[in-house]
């Protein structure tokens, strides 16, 4: 069988299994098993065990359950409601009002967490119930959350930039700095989109009951102190050199627990519930990550992504055409593989192509992350979609529909950094040499 045909058969199989209602993790794993058994000479079962073990105990992954736990604790304490009460007066005149909490909450949280799934889980845990209660439209709540949470990958620290930096031997410090400009650009795009939607259709956004004068605003802001302390504590511990980003997640849990207790309305029972809920969510995500890792390894053995990438390379395209082709390639690949797998599986083939046509590898790393961010919100395999379905029970296809405008905004972001590469390269160029 030819490579494109094998790819189509496997994709078809995955879609079939998913539509039949098989659990996502198991559907990914089953396709991987079939791919290995039929199209490679590797022992599928042994490779499965190695992958399940080898990818389940990674240190970088330990931050995930901790950030999820932090979200669960905040949800069960008064802190999340306080945060909205504190922000509501300030945002009462902004077009889109509290929807911006999703955008900016995710952006701030992205500066702490390295993954988009943890960002979606932590912010969404607080914002979805609160915004729903206040009458905001579901599609915008879910869309802003799914879209903005992808910033977790771009705004430093970022697991995927570390993976790219290690694989291509780019400076991780420079990659991190390079992510800041495009991160700010995307925040502006997301917030701008919310404002435009609100401005075009004012009835979409619920009226906050009244307007507030400055004094009332300042008074209400006292509600923000606990959450501000939490964010300061977590970010501060990283920048004071006391904690790595993974370490900081643990500190976040401890601080959230202390603050929740101090604010009253928290108990051992609520802590236990938070722990059990975080356990279920992190188990769900980790299981899918394991299935995805197995599929990614299977793809490595079958050589499909390599061959498809070399096929693009053999076309001898101009810079623009190459970028267009790669963007399309990554979007399609990103529908079925998670972002890190996409990077890991293709860099060996893609990097020489990039360097041959003279594209700056630092710029390409950021481009890649923005493209891969899209894969977080495209069905059928999109981690932000899974997290939000897990949290709300709303089907991933409905979440994906709500997130689609943000997919387009990310695409616009890719176009912008391609036309104005300075957005990426300006900040790192200021670093000493």
């Amino acid at each position: 069988m030819s490579d494109p045909l094998i790819a189509l058969v496997l994709l078809g199989g995955l879609i079939l299994l998913l539509s039949a209602g098989l659990w996502v993790a198991i559907a990914l794993g089953t396709v991987a098993f079939i791919a290995l058994s039929l199209f490679s000479n590797a022992p599928a079962g042994l490779v499965m065990a190695t992958t399940l073990w080898g990818h389940s105990h990674s240190w970088a992954l330990t931050a995930l359950p901790l950030f999820i736990l932090m979200g669960e604790i905040l949800l069960r304490s008064r802190l999340s409601q306080d945060m909205f009460d504190g922000l509501a007066p300030w945002l009462s005149r902004a077009p889109g009002r509290l929807l911006h909490v999703n955008v900016f909450g995710c952006a701030i949280f992205a500066a702490v967490s390295g993954s988009s799934a943890a960002t979606a889980a932590t912010i969404g845990r607080m914002s979805v119930p609160e915004l729903t209660k206040r009458g905001y439209p579901e599609s915008l709540i879910l869309g802003t959350l799914a879209g903005s949470a992808t910033l977790g990958l771009l705004i430093p620290p970022s697991i995927i930039l570390i993976v790219y930096g290690v694989a291509t031997e780019q400076s991780i410090a420079r990659l991190f700095i390079a992510g800041v400009g495009p991160g700010v650009m995307l925040i502006a795009l997301f917030a701008g989109y919310v404002a435009v939607r609100a401005w075009m259709n004012p009835s979409l956004i619920p009226n906050e009951a009244r307007h507030f004068n400055l004094r009332e605003r300042l008074n209400a802001s006292r509600n923000l102190i606990p959450v501000a302390l939490l964010i300061l504590g977590v970010i501060g511990s990283i920048y004071a050199g006391l904690a790595s980003p993974t370490d900081a997640a643990a500190l976040g849990v401890v601080l959230a627990t202390i603050l929740a207790w101090a604010s009253g309305a928290f108990s051992w029972k609520l802590l236990f519930e938070a722990l059990m809920s975080a356990t279920r969510t992190s188990c769900m995500i980790a299981f899918i990550l394991l299935g995805a890792a197995y599929l990614s390894v299977a793809m490595g053995f079958t050589g499909l992504p390599r061959n498809l990438a070399s096929w693009i390379g053999a076309m001898d395209l101009s810079v623009t055409a190459l970028l267009l082709a790669l963007t399309l390639f990554f979007i399609v690949l990103g529908c079925f593989l998670d972002g890190i797998s996409v990077v890991v599986l293709t860099t060996s083939i893609i990097m020489p192509m990039i360097q041959a046509v003279g594209i700056d590898p630092l710029w390409f790393g950021i481009y890649l992350v923005v493209v891969v961010e899209m894969s977080q919100i495209t069905p059928p395999v999109g981690f932000n979609l899974f997290v939000i379905q897990g949290m709300t029970g709303i089907n991933i296809m409905r979440v994906a529909k709500a997130a689609f405008p943000f997919f387009l905004l990310l695409l616009l972001g890719v176009a912008l950094i391609s036309i104005f590469p300075g957005i990426v390269t300006y900040l790192p160029s200021l670093m000493g040499n």
């Binding site: 000479n41 970088a60 290690v166 031997e169 991780i172 990283i238 004071a240 060996s348 040499n433």
Partner: protein, 300 residues
């Protein structure tokens, strides 16, 4: 026959480039009958699982950092013991003693070593010059294995565990203030963004090793086996040269990018050697007979 070969490091690392050339030579020598696909940068199997994946024939061949196995037997770790072998000549002499011993140890796991290539010798990265061991006192020092933790403690420094990927951030936030690593790693992580001084103290010369599964190898026909062994021999010779060239080149790059490169003072060297000597005493009490035999052969 197609072989998938997982390796831990990226394509621009000279180890990976050497292996790609090795694969090319095997392909040419066997007229394409044995085709090795190199999967670099942990893209197929994570570093920690590569040895066991070769052992259980998930992949026929793979590369890993040899002294990772030091917890299995200290014989695997002699090349990473501080201040035992501190030049390429010493390292070559040590490898001559180490090779038969680890060949036997790996054979117990059904593995056959093909070739081993050193990293450039490990140097000291700090902010400011270190002229004697006492200057390390109280410095937060990156330690990622037991030997380094012991070293830091003996030097009066505070060992801090930092994962490789977190190095730049750990330096820029002050989580660590000193580390020992190769000039290659220094250049690849653009060390000039976060440290000012580098001293080639040549603390140790660690190696990567390429192993093949013995049973898979035995199934090859005689001419293919000969082709693999010949290519491996060539790769080992080439790799050592690449490593020496790399050491010179990367040290130069560090200097070009504004890092002050200085030769260690005699006082510093003596102090570090003394620590190395103390560490060997502890090492000796934990080492297997085979591991001890390597060192006594080397010291002859």
């Amino acid at each position: 026959e197609n072989w998938d070969m997982p390796t831990p490091y990226g394509d621009s690392t000279f180890h990976t480039q050497n292996i790609i050339q090795f694969a090319d030579e095997v392909r040419t020598a066997t007229d394409g009958a044995l085709d090795i696909t190199v999967h670099s940068a942990n893209s197929l199997i994570p570093h920690a699982e590569i040895k066991n994946a070769v052992r259980s024939r998930q992949v026929p061949i793979g590369e890993f950092f040899l002294s990772r196995l030091a917890n299995e037997d200290l014989a695997f770790g002699v090349d990473s013991q501080p201040f035992v072998a501190t030049s390429y000549d010493d390292a070559e002499k040590l490898w001559a003693e180490q090779k038969p011993v680890i060949t036997e140890l790996l054979a117990k796991q059904g593995l056959k070593p093909l070739f081993s290539v050193p990293w450039p010798a490990q140097g000291l990265y700090t902010n400011g010059e270190i002229s004697k061991v006492e200057d390390l006192n109280g410095l937060r020092f990156r330690a990622y294995n037991a030997a380094l933790e012991e070293f830091a403690a003996l030097a009066g420094a505070a060992p801090v565990q930092v994962e490789a990927a977190d190095i730049p951030q750990a330096f820029s936030t002050g989580q660590v203030a000193a580390m020992i690593t190769s000039p290659s790693t220094g250049v690849n992580s653009t060390a000039w963004d976060f440290v000012t001084h580098y001293s080639p103290i040549n603390a140790w010369v660690p190696k990567n090793i390429v192993v093949v599964n013995q049973r898979v190898f035995d199934r090859l026909d005689k001419t293919q086996q000969a082709a693999v062994l010949a290519a491996a021999e060539a790769a080992e010779a080439r790799g050592w040269e690449m490593s020496a060239a790399e050491a010179a080149q990367k040290t130069k790059e560090l200097a070009e990018n504004g890092i002050t490169v200085y030769e260690p003072s005699a006082e510093l060297v003596d102090g570090l050697q003394a620590i190395g000597g103390k560490m060997l005493e502890g090492w000796d009490s934990k080492a297997s007979d085979e591991a001890r035999a390597i060192l006594s052969g080397y010291n002859k």
